[in-house]
Symmetry: C2
Subunit: 195 residues, 2 copies
C-alpha cells in the first residue's frame, strides 16, 4: 500500500515526482523550446538521475506529464475566454486572439503540447490527454456562430482552430513578427457567412 503522506529525509526526497514536474515546468516556461534533459533536471533537483525512474518509466513519460499540465492550462485559458466573450462572431474573435496570445506568451509550453500529443498512445494516459483536448476543442466550438448545420459548425471549428494554430506557429517559428494588431486583423478577417 503506498504511503498517504510523503516522507522527507536527507536520503528520501519527500515528493520527488511533484518536485520534478514543478521544476520541469519552471525550466520549460523560461525557454523557447522545450529542451529538457533528464540528468540536468535531476542535477538541479539535487538528486541522482536514475531516481526519476522511480516515478516515470522514461523521459517521454515525464514530458507527457508536463505536456498534459500545459494542455490543461491552455484549455482552461480557452474555456475562460469563451465564457467571458460569449458566442457568435465576436466570441470567436476573442477566443482566437486568446489562443495566439497564450502561445506567444508560453512558446515552449505550447510547443510541448503539440510535440508530445502524437505519442500519447504509447506513454501517457490517452484518456486524460483526450479529455484535455476535448476541453480545448469545446472552448473553440463554443465560439462558433449559431444558425449553422452541425457539419458546418464542425468545419467552421476546424477552420478556426487551424487559423489560430497556424498563426501561432508561424509567429513562434519567427516567420511573422508578433503584433497584436496584426493578429486581430487576421482573425477578424474570418467570416463564416454562408456562400
Amino acid at each position: 500500500m503506498p504511503p498517504i503522506l510523503p516522507m522527507s529525509t536527507a536520503y528520501h526526497h519527500g515528493d520527488l515526482r511533484a518536485a520534478a514536474l514543478q521544476m520541469g515546468m519552471e525550466r520549460i516556461e523560461n525557454q523557447d523550446h522545450p529542451d529538457l534533459g533528464l540528468r540536468a533536471l535531476a542535477r538541479d533537483l539535487g538528486v541522482s538521475a536514475t531516481a526519476l525512474y522511480r516515478h516515470f518509466p522514461n523521459k517521454d513519460a515525464l514530458l507527457d506529464a508536463l505536456a498534459l499540465e500545459a494542455l490543461g492550462r491552455l484549455g482552461a485559458n480557452q474555456a475562460k475566454a469563451a465564457r467571458d466573450a460569449g458566442g457568435g462572431r465576436n466570441g470567436f474573435i476573442e477566443v482566437g486572439i486568446t489562443y495566439v496570445t497564450w502561445a506567444v506568451e508560453n512558446p515552449a509550453l505550447f510547443r510541448l503540447i503539440y510535440t508530445r500529443v502524437e505519442k500519447v498512445d504509447f506513454d501517457c494516459d490517452p484518456t486524460e490527454m483526450g479529455e484535455a483536448f476535448n476541453q480545448l476543442r469545446a472552448g473553440i466550438a463554443a465560439s462558433m456562430p449559431e444558425g449553422m448545420s452541425a457539419e458546418q459548425r464542425n468545419v467552421a471549428a476546424l477552420h478556426a482552430w487551424s487559423l489560430v494554430h497556424g498563426l501561432a506557429m508561424l509567429i513562434l517559428d519567427g516567420q511573422v513578427e508578433y503584433d497584436p494588431e496584426m493578429v486581430r486583423k487576421t482573425v477578424v478577417m474570418t467570416d463564416f457567412r454562408p456562400a
Copy 2:
C-alpha cells in the same frame, strides 16, 4: 584553389557533401520526424563521422542545408500550383490545398523546414533561406483576390498562410485525421469578401 571536379578514391570519397545531403534527404523523406544522427548518417555513407565536419561546420549546418533543399521543393510546388490554378478565389483554394497535401505527403520535410528556420541567422545563409521563403510567400500572395488594398492583401495572405499551415500542422500532429474532402471544405470556407 579548390578542385573543379571531385576526386574519387578508396580513401577520398569524391563528393561527400552532395552524397551526405542526398542520403540525408532520403532518410528524412521516409520518416515522420526529421530525426537525423550524424554518426548514423556517416555509417550509412561508409565514412567516418568526423569526415562530415570537412563539409559542414556542425550538425545544425547540415540540417539547415537539408531544410533549405526541402523549402526549395515546397516553394517550387507552391509556385507551380499558383501558376496552374491562376489567381482569385479559386486559385487560393487550389494553392492552399496543395500546401496541405505536400505537408501530408512529406511530413518530415515539412517539419524540418519550420524547425530549422528560426535558427537560420546562426548557421545557414539567411539570404538563401529568406529568398526561398519569399518564393513561398509569393506563391501564396499570387493567389490572393484582386480588388483589395495592399494592406488588405497582406492580411489576407497571412490569413491564408496561417490557415493552411495550421491545418497541416494539426494533421501532422495527429489532431485531425487527413481527409482530402475535409481539407477542401475547410479551405473553401475562407472568404475574403469585405465586411
